[in-house]
Amino acid sequence: MKVSIALKQIMAFTKRDFKSWTTYKTSVITQLISILIGVFSWGVRASYVQRAVSEMYDSDYISFLIVGIAIGNLIMPLVQGVERRLNPWTLETILMTNMSTPVFVIGNVMWNYLFSIITFVPYLVIGVLVFGVEMNVNIPATILAFLISAAILMGLAMVSSGLRIVTKSTDPVTWAINVLQNLFSGIAFPVVYLDTIFFPGVSTFSWFLPQTWVYHLCRLAILTNPSITDPGIAIQFLKGLIFAVVLLPVGYKTFKWGVNRAKREGTLGHY
């Protein structure tokens, strides 16, 4: 019964956000055009580089980059979704509905996430048809990678939300993680390349960033057709899972802490 109410609540958020999104017709059109332009711009850049990515994924650079950018588009809404939707006049009202924290967080990001999945497909289709992206997808591994990624990013989203409720602006933790991800998470190059550019061992730092695991597991699953029963692959997924298992409760606790602290200070409705 409670699960069905939770699902209804998540659906309510999704339906509301979808309906609201469709009323902004100009924005819908510009978003769709941005997706198309985005794929082509990254595709052309990667074509120009034309380098083999022999490290980690044994792929070509176009496939590596297009898949990475698609993953980036898929995951960013999860981190940004709650943060963008957090405003004090909504927060107070929503908290008075007595809904659970996970439902609040999932509900607020669901439409953005669904939309990003919808945009994920044209990225890959255009990548394959126009730029010759080669994918070696393993479906179970991809599903698992997406689930682990979603859990990691949901945890981060809750950390971010909890801190933002207190700071009323950008939270320093998520800001730092997002800034560092540009250099260390391997969006546009394999993280081991950092050892070549800087000094050996610097890429070790990358593996402490949650986003690195999101990109890594999704690329493994989509580019290398891995078997999750292979011990080497299983260990990679297990390490990602550990991040998820740690970040989810940390995020939950941080969110609750943020709400309680704001309630204690009487600043829940402030911004």
């Binding site: 509301r16 309906k19 009202t93």
Partner: protein
Amino acid sequence: MRGHHRGHGNSIRSLDGIIKVIKGNQGSFIEALGGLDLQVEEGEIFGILGPNGAGKTTLIKILCTLVLHDEGEAYVNSFDVQKEPGKVLDNLQAVLPGSRGFTWRLSGRQNLEFYALLYGLEDEAARKRIDYLLELTGLLERADDGYQRYSTGMQRKLLLCRGLLRDTPIILFDEPTTGLDPYSAAEFRKLLRDRLVREEGKTILMSTHNLSEAQEMCDRIAILDRGKIIACDTPDNIRYKMVDTSQFNVALHENAYVERHEEMLAQLQGITGVYRVTPDISHEGELKGLSFRIDKDMDLSAILESLLGYELSIKAINSEEPTLEDAFISITGSLPAPPWRRHRR
């Protein structure tokens, strides 16, 4: 003796004094509420009055679990607001004008449908309830218009609809008619008093700084000043008990204002129980009347005898009842009430 402390029925009760300390902008701490003790009974409209910053909104937010108090206990229908927030929220709904939470691009009905889902209402029940509330508030005809097209009054009514979606026995209002035009405000007050309380038996706790609204609507009021309750009673009792003076007016057939009238004013001013005498003199120098600020219990015959002694021709006499505004100023303003009237009830 926890059970002994708890409220019963559809009541709100704070015991042992709620203390709420909040952080100031510069890191200092401000005591927003300093030991409240009040009980709101089932089926009554209870008003919290006070100047800006008195702690009215903080009290309401404590009761609807949006602010945590530091000391004391508060119960809603016998549920502790800190220990059992879920059950408290099952029993009350708050209508806070600052926390809209409506999506501007959706219609009023769609917004209500969204909240009905969040509250876990069944589809059919939600549909019926929404139709009922839209009809109740007069929004039915405009239900499918975008929220952004709603006037302030309509937005406030939609807030009320959302507050009533779950049909809780207790509703809290924070400044319910602020920003409404006089007609909408009167309509809104009628809706709360006649439909929600008299017909549906709901309990209402509302904060306001509109004194005439409190006088008109509330069964009882508490006057809050700097976080403390300094009076709590029916509006009439507060008016009569908290104000020491009343206004007494004498209209005169016009006479030229002459020197001996100065002497008369001095004599009137000297009568025990008369605090102030103000003559009403026209531009032409005619004495048209006299206004007296007097002790509310004084015998008026001494004044009348004095007036007749000066052969003034009296046209009309009237006395003005103390208003809630008089009481409020007396309690919180520059005319503080005597200490024995400042005790908490």
